[in-house]
């Protein structure tokens, strides 16, 4: 049985009609000790059928070490959403539930180049001199989470200094411990700073400035 039923697939095709340039979903996976690697692979295999501009590239986390290091992949399943270049957009854990919308959004953003950010934010990211790493912790059933994920991914798209990860926390419980995540969404900036809830753009940018 397919993961994406006919109804969802129709919606996906319609949404991805807006794609302009090719997008590669680079999946890091392995055959053992990975909760949702198989499901994520199945999901992406079906998803790329929705539009010819979409391509799946599968890497083995254990053996393709060089690529994994280059893409900064430290846990699996991992998806790097890559367009004309790598914008630093990552998904760790399966993008199911509401996070499927975040994945579609990332694909469209990378494909069209359209980023919806205020002029203030654009000016801030344009002048960024130091790296900024955003990790957005989510659960698939959290309706407020895609907002935080999409915002982080937009910032990554807008600046080469910024990388942004969606992290589906139930698949990485040790990270819930490490970052004391007990509510989602939670955005962790450069390991140290964090913001709870689906914060408005200006609030995230203010927090990011603190982290610099």
């Amino acid at each position: 049985m397919p993961m994406l039923d006919e109804k969802v697939m129709t919606e996906v095709k319609k949404a991805l009609n807006a794609m302009r340039k090719p997008v590669t979903l680079r999946l890091y996976t392995q055959a053992f000790e990975c909760g949702y690697c198989k499901e994520t692979h199945n999901l992406l295999s079906e998803l790329v059928q929705a539009n010819p501009l979409l391509k799946l590239e599968t890497k083995q986390f254990e053996t393709d070490k060089e690529e994994a290091a280059q893409d900064n992949i430290d846990k699996i399943p991992a998806i790097a959403v890559i367009g004309e270049k790598d914008y630093g957009i990552r998904f760790y854990g399966i993008p199911a539930g509401y996070e499927f919308s975040s994945l579609l959004n990332a694909i469209l953003m990378v494909s069209t180049g359209i980023v919806k950010l205020t002029d203030e934010t654009k000016a801030f990211v344009a002048n960024l001199q130091t790296p900024l790493h955003l990790q957005v912790f989510v659960t698939p059933t959290c309706p407020y989470c895609p907002q935080a994920v999409i915002l982080a991914h937009q910032l990554a798209m807008a600046s080469d200094q910024i990388t942004a990860d969606m992290v589906e926390i139930s698949e990485f419980p040790h990270l819930a411990q490490k970052y004391q995540v007990q509510g989602v969404p939670r955005t962790v900036i450069n390991e140290k700073w964090s913001l709870d809830g689906a914060a408005p753009e200006a609030m995230l940018v203010a927090k990011a400035k603190e982290a610099l």
């Binding site: 969802v8 199911a96 509401y98 007990q182 689906a198």
Partner: protein, 321 residues
Amino acid sequence: MLDFNVSLSATAEPDKLWDLIIIGGGPAGLTAGLYASRYKLEVLLLEKAVVSGGQLTSTQWVENYPGFPEPVLGTKLAADMEAQARLFGLRIISETVKSVSLTGIVKEIVTDYATYRAKTVLIATGSSPRRLGLPHEAEFSGRGVSYCATCDGPFYPDKTVAVAGGGNSAFEESLFIAKYAAKIYLIHRRDSFSADPILQERVKAEPKIELITNTQVTALNFDTDTQRSISLINTQSGAESLLEVDGIFIFVGNLPNTTLFEGQVELEQGYIVTDRSYRTSLEGVWAVGDVQAGALRQVATAVGDGAGAAHKINKYIIDKA
């Protein structure tokens, strides 16, 4: 079983004068959008979240919405309402409204990214969870304090949690949290509950849930890495106690989302005053759903409001033309 939600923000022409802008994409706003789209009005819905559905999306099961003899998932009902409205051409844009100017003939709605203009506006902004008002409550939100069981319930596997409240939400969500947690204390400041009797029966039949009545939470002792606890006071005897819990879920009612409209439309204790035709005190501005004063605040009433208001707005626009 995994499901996959498809919600993407639409785009809109910047200088268009819309027939109707709906603020808020819960059941009331989505139904108004569906009806208005079928009336062939030029209608735009602004929703702050990426996912429409409002409070439905953070509700586990809906059991009292007609047509679903088996309980329906709040998230499914929300996604279906959104899909149905989109089917008839409703454009939903995921942007947060920052300010509104509703007094003129042309209404202006300002978001972070654009200013939208419309002939009429329908306010369907609903309400948000009320806080208990405890010291450090906001600080611990997301670190032991939660207002959304479907979001944060999974963080408490085999743990002990408190739930504050005595209404339908507190009871329904306690039953949901019981799927994860080992022990739930449902704490209510009165000795009786306002939750529907059927929910009370179910909660009483759930061995994981213990009811504590006549008790108020007075402090959150969440700032250590050791055992967390909450401080309680018995409202009858005045006796104080500590209860060891890993977290607390708060369901103590809602507050209307009307800050945007203060000073423009008439409010009553924060809620928008409407007449039987959903009109507010301002011409060309209607309000539906939870945000209205005196509303029942159910999905069933919200969708009725949405349909009714769309009908009145359509008539208004035809009469004005």
